[in-house]
Amino acid sequence: MSIRIEHVSKSYSAYPALDDVSLSIGDGEFVALLGPSGSGKTTLLRILAGLEVPEQGIVCFGDRDVTNDKPASRGIGFVFQHYALFGHMTVAQNIAFGLNVMARRIRPSRRAISDRVEELLELVQLPGLGSRYPSQLSGGQRQRVALARALARNPRILLLDEPFGALDAKVRRELREALRVIHNELGLTSIFVTHDHEEAFTLADRVALLNQGKIEQFDTPRQVESAPATDFVRAFLD
């Protein structure tokens, strides 16, 4: 699903976190929000998720204005840096959470939910681990569970906040590839936040570079590398 962000601003007490940001993302695109800490990239992602509300501007998913919609009704999946798995639930219960909290008249049957959980565990390459608890899994496995959980309700948009930030290099590479495959397979529109430009360039179709709440450049990795739009971009890539 396409995403349109128009003139979005947001400030925390005194300093602006986002300053008149506009961005248009096509259906099926894989976009990285790249920038140093404090650049506003996470704030932008959280606004897309509905976890923050912009002071100005609008956010549209397709033709729908979702600016004031709650996270629950946006049709998104969100993956947190530190997984945010529910420690008192098994892997299967974590993945089923989004389905179990649905209103009774639209909730799938118990059977359908457990089939869906199995399907998702296959998708993230963790078949058979449904009865484990998150504390019994490695970091990479936990993030895969978090991904499966975020996908349970079939979101059209997947938002990821530094999804590989807490993982070591090898696991990071494997998970990156898995994520790209899942993105393509499900036809998602995905946006992930990172401060690592190598990661952004290898994974994303287009990269939005943020600095001090503004977008410095939004382009394909090749274009950003060959023609940096500003001094900041040039310095950041070095």
Binding site: A49, L51, I76, A84, F86, G87, F97, V101
Partner: protein, 278 residues
């Protein structure tokens, strides 16, 4: 093997251990033993008779009612306060945290007295209450108010540090997964805090049942009506009815032991969660 400087002579080690055990025995075990010995001095049938007099039974019932109301209200308030303080930023948060702790530093007698000043016959609202035939002081509502005040911080204080360290991410995850606010609280927040909550409730209950100073001021000491167990113990003791006094006291002691047992069992069974919330 500890470093040479840390090694104790066996004799010093033995003395230290003996000293610690002796101190605990003298200060904690001896009085506890004394209560039980005195209570059963004339046999268990005398004990049974002493705790089943109408006044004793009435004090037990009153204590249970007061504790039940106070624990439920302070649990609801404690969760709400801890939730607000841990999960949201607002002006005056530090002041609220300090206020919650206030009852710990106020003498219980003063805690009782403030309610007499407000609702007593000569108090601010006294004439109005009298005109409308509402009894607060020297009645159940006063006992509940005084107990509420004294046990106010127990649950909140237990939860605030834990919930602050847990942050908001789990709740945000639940919201993005489509849960409502209530579902998030019930399925995510509550399980995350359940052991600390249980712990706070236990401590709150022990204090609510054992409170003497504050309830003493507002009770009026009407036997069979406004005497809770601790007040009944004092009344019987002043009557030189030692078996009666110690019999009721032994019930309170039993409560303390049960609380301690539950608390220890809880700590032992869930030591992982209590030590590291994640």
């Amino acid at each position: 093997m500890p470093a040479a400087g840390l090694r104790e002579l066996p004799i010093i080690k033995a003395l230290l251990i003996a000293g610690a055990i002796g101190y605990v025995a003298l200060i904690l075990l001896l009085p506890l033993g004394a209560v039980l010995t005195e209570a059963f001095k004339q046999g268990s049938s005398a004990w049974m008779a002493a705790i089943s007099t109408p006044d004793a039974l009435s004090s037990i019932k009153l204590t249970l009612i007061v504790a039940a109301i106070s624990v439920v209200l302070n649990t609801i308030f404690g969760i709400a306060a801890a939730w607000a303080i841990a999960k949201f930023d607002f002006r005056g948060k530090a002041a609220l945290v300090a206020l919650i702790e206030l009852p710990f530093s106020v003498s219980p007698v003063v805690s009782g007295l403030v309610f007499v000043l407000m609702f007593g016959a000569q108090g601010w609202f006294g004439p109005w209450l009298e005109a409308h035939d509402i009894h607060i002081i020297f009645a159940l509502p006063g006992l509940v108010l005084a107990t509420l005040f004294v046990t106010f911080p127990f649950v909140a204080r237990q939860l605030i540090p834990l919930m602050t360290s847990q942050g908001r991410t789990d709740e945000e995850a639940a919201l993005t997964l489509g849960a409502s606010g209530w579902q998030t609280f019930w399925h995510v927040t509550l399980p995350n805090i359940r052991f600390a909550l249980l712990y706070g409730v236990l401590l709150c209950n022990a204090r609510a049942m054992g409170e003497f100073g504050a309830v003493s001021v507002v009770s009026g000491h009407i036997r069979g009506e406004t005497n809770t167990m601790p007040l009944q113990v004092e009344a019987l003791y002043n009557d030189y009815d030692f078996v009666g006094a110690f019999a009721v006291a032994s019930l309170l002691t039993l409560l303390a032991l049960v609380t301690l047992g539950l608390k220890t069992a809880l700590e032992w069974r869930h030591r992982d969660q209590l030590a590291a919330p994640h």
